[in-house]
Symmetry: C2
Subunit: 264 residues, 2 copies
């Protein structure tokens, strides 16, 4: 509990979770309230930022696919300078800071500058997407491992994933930021041996009121991803665990259309 205060000159990398402010941890909530300045990703929504105290400076440093508002180096520099200025710094990231958040580069920059840094973990998008669909990411007999990868390549590079690993069976594969690459990912997974009929779940804006999701199958992953109309972050989850029938649950706020799967 005592960790929820911020010593001036310290930088906390804080996981904001998948989007729903109710999915912030209690610790993240306190750190957001304790901050004097918050550098936040574009994926961190206004409901989360509204938790900050009046007077806290909110600095968007967001990167979204194809629209990098600041370079990583510039962000690193801002964090170091704010800490040197004696601010109580929160670097607020969607999901969990340790999962595809480029936290490694920020931690290295802080370390090189002699700035103390800490991490507050968060709920990662795969957990939130599965929860919304009332599905589990691992399941006895169906999935012995869960693999998290990102569907975003470095600028100018091909997506460099180990398709044989991902297609090895009894594996649940969660692809973060997978919208643009969905069709290509499906093609590679099938080429590596995964059945076209492997169940897949597509969730955009997981946990938010604008959440959309679709239960489909691997060979329709590209179509499904294109069919969701939003421009929010999308996670693709592929594996037999996504084929669990859904228990009776209200469908409010979510469209789970089996349409694409039925058309196949």
């Amino acid at each position: 509990m005592s960790e929820s205060c911020i010593h001036p000159g310290t930088v906390w990398l804080v996981g904001a979770g998948p989007g729903d402010p109710d999915l912030l941890t209690r610790k993240a909530e306190r750190l957001i309230r304790a901050a004097s300045i918050i550098f936040h990703d574009a994926l961190v929504g206004p409901e989360v930022l509204a938790i900050a105290e009046t007077g806290t400076r909110l600095v968007p440093v967001g990167k979204r696919a194809g629209r990098h508002s600041r370079s990583q180096e510039a962000i690193n520099g801002l964090l170091v300078q704010a800490a040197k200025d004696g601010e109580r710094v929160v670097r607020l990231k969607g999901g969990d800071p340790s999962v595809f958040g480029r936290s490694g580069e920020e931690l290295a920059a802080l370390r090189n500058a002699g700035i103390p840094a800490r991490i507050c973990p968060g709920v990662t998008a795969a957990s939130a997407a599965a929860a919304s669909a009332c599905l589990t990411l691992t399941r006895r007999g169906a999935a012995r491992q869960l693999v998290l990868v990102t569907g975003q390549a470095r600028a100018g590079e091909r997506l460099d994933l180990d398709w044989d690993l991902l297609a090895s069976g009894r594996t649940t594969v969660a692809i973060y930021m997978g919208k643009a690459a969905a069709a290509g990912i499906a093609r590679e997974l099938m080429r590596a041996g995964l059945a076209a009929s492997t169940p897949a779940l597509i969730v955009e804006n997981a946990s938010l009121p604008s959440e959309q999701s679709l239960s489909t199958r691997l060979d329709l992953l590209g179509l499904g991803a294109a069919a969701l109309s939003g421009d929010g972050p999308m996670i693709l989850i592929v594996g037999e665990s996504m084929g669990q029938a859904e228990p009776g649950r209200p469908s409010a706020g979510m469209s789970r259309q089996p349409l694409l799967a039925e058309r196949s």
Copy 2:
């Protein structure tokens, strides 16, 4: 927010996070307060359970390695019966319910009985362990994928993991409940080609005041796991990302001894 109430006769599978009650989500906190009965794992500590209202029935149904206090079938039956009795049921699990929590079996039982079920996600142990050590699970250039597996085999069976794939490089492997199998896991990963010097992090009781952790290397994983003195849940994380030098951070509540690594 409206989801934080519980309709009588509904079962919520709720992630309690890694242990620190501050790492509960705000939603989990509300659901715990709203429950009339809570079935909880052994790994859910008293600080978390203290959040429940006076009068809420707390029913331990915990399973710990080698000490199964109730069969999974018995737990399923308890959940179904409590829902049929019109209780506001919370099934409280350590970490995230979707990650090695056997939620699939409980969801199937509820579905078969026509009971509405929902999931509230939580912070999983790998995220918390990395955060405590101020390390990231993925890092550009070092890890393109994060694989979560469990170190517990079914009773009487050998650990059935895909060693070649776990050892395939640029991969961070997080092994849940890995204490007993640590030496064997290291042996298999090295046999599959992973370097003996691959950095590894061992964390017991991640996020709790009793947390102990050790930065070591793959060939010393078994020794390191045995060296930690607690009997709490242990996570092993193996991969180049665990070799990031640590930024200046206070070490309160944590012993990060490089001893074993130096002795090698």
